[in-house]
Amino acid sequence: MQFANTQDWLQWILFFVLIAIFQFYANKLQVWKWMNDINNALLKLERYLNDASASFIEEASKYNKDRGAIEETLKKIKGYFLIEPVSLDPSGILRRLEHLLDELRESLDAHLTRLLPGIGVHRRADMRCLVEGIIILDQIYRVVRHYYILGKKTQNLIYIAQIQMQLPEILRIAKAYWSSGEAFRRGTPVGDSIGPLVALKLIGNSEVQELAYGTVGAEIEVEGRKVMVIKANGPGGEVGKPGEAIKRVIESRSGAIHRIIMIDAALKLEGELSAEIAEGVGAAIGDPGPEKWKIEDVAARYGIPLDSIVIKEDLTDAITIMKPEIAKAADEVVKRIKEAIVERTRPGDYVVVAGIGNSVGVGNREEI
């Protein structure tokens, strides 16, 4: 290689200078780019949070004209937290967790009842779901902001990298909760309401009774079998206590139940079709633990077969207004439940069918 003139030399020097700069400052440039990404994500998260809060305030204003009081209460509720029970001594942890979850729900309900006088039980449940979404958005925003500021202060690549690499997932979750506000504000079914929707289709116009907190049931007949259909108390945004209800039904019959069939929405894997129906064994319920434990415990104690039918959806589908393909899957699920009852039980048997999920926008029976 020969250098014919000064221009060649200059080009080579420029080339090596660039290499040297990238050698020493590549990390700095990378950090700058990542911090920029986090900053943009924070702006987006802040917008989601403000938008969800504004939506709550607008809806609450229909029940209370004192906007200042609504804003004050929302500010107070936003920071709400639940300290999980100590797990060093696992004995009775689910009972303790259930107690804390009940306390949390009752506490939010008490705030909302004070703030929104005259609001019905169902609308209050919708508003509670709306507030829970805001609490989650606020928590996400605070955590991301924490790492952003920490990264800025320390210029520590690890702090910055770990939050930047999780940003797509964090934003996906935040967007899902932000979008869910519209469903609870207007009281329409969400993807997770597919369980209660199927239960309602089975119940038809039969009379329902309260079985446990926020949970109702109706006894129907399918091809000579008695079927107790259980769902959360609708049409408010309630998930109820289906585990407690199933346990009470089974214990009231001293275990004389021949099969339990549970229906719930299940998170789909990427690549799976939305609204795909799958069948399996086990308690199909996505609660933090207490309700699932009760069902498994009582089924195991009395040796009752436990079947599940799930409808696959992603997180966004599950908590936002129901999509047409999910709504239309309900008829197919009803067909499969009836087939399962006829094929796996005998006439005269007693079956429990539980439609698990949020009952927002789904009544308890057809009102005729």
């Binding site: 900053n39 943009n40 939305s274 589908d317 129901m322 047409p324 789904v362 009102e367 005729i368």
Partner: protein
């Protein structure tokens, strides 16, 4: 928040300047490399390096512009929400009808409307969903 919005605006300017500079340098390198090759009638090491770096940089610039425009497009799509529809059914003649959702409706509710087909008052809400499907 206003501080971060200001920072974002500054970042947009920095990105625009950087991308413009990178595009200009890329074009200059391509032009310089091509001119050297044409002048000498052969491809020497320097002109090949210039030309290659120029092409690679230009590809990166185009990709950066495409990424930014895609991001902006996604942001503008975010607010779009499909219409919410209610499917009502007459329990006497089973006629189904789809219409816009009204606040306060829920599945199983007796609507109080009369059936368009038979005039029966037994019209209930069968389904409520948004028109936007996941595939959209």
């Amino acid at each position: 928040m206003s501080q971060r919005i200001g920072q974002q605006a500054t970042n947009v300017w920095i990105w625009t300047i950087l991308i413009s500079m990178a595009a200009a340098v890329s074009l200059l390198l391509i032009w310089s490399g091509a001119r050297e090759m044409a002048t000498h009638g052969r491809a020497d090491t320097i002109s090949i390096i210039q030309f290659t770096i120029g092409v690679v940089s230009l590809v990166l610039v185009v990709k950066a512009i495409m990424d930014i425009s895609r991001m902006r497009e996604e942001l503008s799509k975010e607010k779009v929400l499909g219409p919410i529809v209610t499917v009502v059914q007459c329990l006497d003649c089973n006629t189904k009808m789809e219409r816009t959702f009204k606040d306060g409706e829920y599945v199983g509710k007796l609507t109080g409307e009369n059936c368009r087909n038979c005039g029966s008052s037994k019209v209930i809400v069968k389904l409520i969903y948004t028109k936007t499907s996941r595939s959209e």
